[in-house]
């Protein structure tokens, strides 16, 4: 189109602030942190600066703590399938043009919108093993159902509500200080507490809204065609709706992975300080400890870059397969 000879110049002007900010606060730091990860840089001046090559990465491979915290990070992802399935269920339920749909949607979205330190402090109080309402409720249920009388009658141990945040028990029986499984550790502990809270926060959040949008985009002809062929509700969902939702599901799974790989800091800092015995310390928390409590900037950067590499690999997978899924 003629009469607009200055577009390039104008574009440069419009992009300038954002690009400048991007260079200073994203691109520059990216290169800088890669460089730093090959040094022993420590903000405490007592240790002389030196380029250490791949030493940090080597150390990291044999860093027992790193692997434990990696396991913690992966363990906390156990809530992910539950959360995604829940979001889908909510979206399907909300997609029926029921009365009060907007009110429900608002309520479901509320926790994820307000999530933050205040909610975490609230949940810390809810989980309090002695005075918290969660255990009060569990206690009440145990007594009302007379479950313990039954169990003891059958020769089992009586059940008690879990200790939650101060407890290292977990569903896989993982021992906190080393990579080993022990029967005495089965139960619900700090990690499960964080997972349950995470599901409560995220179940009606952005994922539900994405599913809701995707559901309204499922071509109605396909659904009707299937119904005419005699398919029931479940069959329609399984063979028509679910495949149509595949790109959304893929996107949500990828984003959840990326999010949880670098997540877990806030709740651990507020609710458990990474404990008990480091069971809620994720890799992000480890980076924080190394960089801002022990001032080992070099080592912390190396951990960050390992994390980044994993995230990058997942993103590449997303690009490779995500496009294919899109042209379903």
């Amino acid at each position: 189109m003629k009469g607009r000879p200055n577009d390039s110049l104008a574009a440069a002007g419009f992009l300038l602030p954002n690009i400048l900010g991007f260079l200073v606060f994203t691109a520059g730091p990216l290169v800088f942190s890669l460089a730093v990860s090959f040094t022993n840089w420590n903000l405490q001046r007592t240790i002389p600066f030196r380029v250490s090559g791949p030493e940090n990465y080597n150390e990291l491979l044999h860093d027992k703590q790193f692997w434990l915290f990696f396991i913690n990070t992966v363990y906390l992802m156990l809530g992910m399938p539950l959360c995604i399935a829940g979001s889908l269920l909510l979206a399907v339920l909300l997609n029926q043009r029921l009365r009060g749909m907007v009110a429900y949607r608002t309520l479901f979205y509320l926790p994820s919108f307000t999530s933050g330190v205040a909610l975490m402090i609230l949940w810390k109080a809810l989980y309090n093993p002695d005075f918290g309402p969660i255990n009060a409720l569990l206690d009440w249920c145990l007594q009302a159902l007379r479950l313990n009388d039954l169990l003891q009658g059958l020769g089992f141990h009586a059940l008690a509500p879990p200790q939650w945040l101060p407890s290292t028990d977990n569903l896989l029986g993982l021992v906190p200080q080393e990579i080993r499984i022990s029967g005495s550790k089965f139960g619900l502990g700090a990690r499960e507490a964080l997972i349950i809270m995470g599901v409560w926060i995220a179940i009606g959040g952005n994922n539900m809204l994405l599913y809701l949008a995707a559901l309204t985009n499922v071509p109605q002809e396909l659904v009707e065609a299937a119904q005419i062929d005699g398919a029931g509700r479940w069959k329609v969902f399984r063979h028509v709706t679910w495949p149509q939702l595949a790109p959304t599901t893929f996107f949500i799974v990828v984003m959840s992975f990326i999010g949880s790989l670098q997540g877990g800091f806030d709740q651990a800092r507020v609710m458990t300080n990474g404990g008990p015995s480091g069971t809620t310390t994720t890799l992000a928390y480890y980076i924080y400890t190394k960089a801002f409590e022990e001032f080992q900037i070099g080592y912390a950067s190396a951990v960050a870059w390992v994390l980044f590499t994993v995230i990058f690999a997942i993103t590449l997978l997303n690009w490779k397969f995500g496009q294919k899924e899109l042209s379903y």
Partner: protein, 286 residues
């Protein structure tokens, strides 16, 4: 020729089926909605309890004590925390909306060689995790002597690839005829941006503004490592210290939490129409 018949002919049985399904759906939704609501209710009730009752299992206070709320302000500079959070969040929101809208305009409404390649590169930066850039940004802030200052909280947060992406999505939906007409009339790029693109992208701008505001209002990591002096603490940092120092006073802590959450809830209820669309557009793969 084969005749196709609907699986369930409309009739009496089908009516019952639909009613049953309707009731079941509402039942499930209501239970889930209650699960979402109960923690908030417990928080409000606990915030009115006298101190002697915070270890009481009964969630209802025997005497309602609204002075808990004013006590929070006596024990910590809560008003200051409020001000800091809102002040920083408003500046970040303003700057981020402006820089994002300008970049989005260049990507959506201007024509220049290499535009789409640059945009794709730009989009790729969305996946750079915060944990990687956090440490260098901290070092940079120290070197610029912005540690423990408003500027240090505001400036690094004022640029966003996500905002650019979101607003570009919105600006792409503006019919080209609108700005072509303006160009023909000899309007400059700034006029087209300010008078046409921005007003038409308003739903997107509102969504971005709300997201940015609440993201910063609740921002935890960056202020935690950046702020040392008490008078610069934002709400999340203030809450963290309040909780660690006065943790036994659950009633006051909950009152503080309520005050922390109320502005968010109001903001959310007022803006949710825009938010829903913003999330749904931003989540579409670019």
């Amino acid at each position: 020729m084969r005749l196709y018949e609907p699986a369930r002919a409309p009739g009496f049985a089908s009516w019952w089926y639909r009613q049953g399904q309707f009731i079941a759906s509402h039942a499930v939704l209501a239970v889930l909605a209650l699960t979402m609501l109960l923690p908030f209710l417990w928080m409000v009730l606990a915030s009115f309890k006298p101190y002697e009752e915070v270890e009481n299992l009964n969630p209802f206070p025997s005497t309602w004590q609204p002075e808990n709320y004013s006590k929070v302000f006596e024990q910590v500079p809560f008003a200051r925390y409020y001000f800091n959070s809102v002040f920083v969040a408003l500046w970040v929101t303003f700057l981020q909306c402006l820089t994002s809208a300008m970049a989005a305009f260049a990507f959506a409404r201007l024509r220049w060689p290499g535009r789409d390649v640059v945009f794709r590169l730009y989009l790729a930066t969305l996946m750079i995790p915060g944990v990687v850039t956090m440490i260098p940004n901290y070092v940079l802030t120290v070197k610029l002597q912005l540690l423990d200052s408003y500027l240090g909280l505001i400036v690094p947060a004022s640029f966003s690839a996500f905002g650019t992406f979101l607003l570009r999505q919105f600006m792409l939906t503006i019919p080209p005829a609108l700005d072509e007409a303006a160009w023909m009339d000899g309007a400059g790029p700034w006029t087209v941006f300010w008078d046409i693109a921005l007003p038409l992208a308003r739903p997107g701008l509102i969504a971005l503004a709300v997201f940015t505001f609440m993201g910063n209002y609740g921002s935890f990591f960056w202020p935690l490592i950046l702020i040392k002096s008490e008078h610069l603490r934002t709400l999340p940092i203030g809450m963290l210290y309040f909780d660690s120092v006065y943790g036994k006073q659950t009633n006051l802590i909950m009152a503080a939490s309520v005050m922390n959450l109320v502005p968010l809830i109001v903001l959310f209820v007022c803006s949710q129409k825009f938010l829903v669309r913003g999330i749904q557009m931003g989540g579409v793969k670019g």
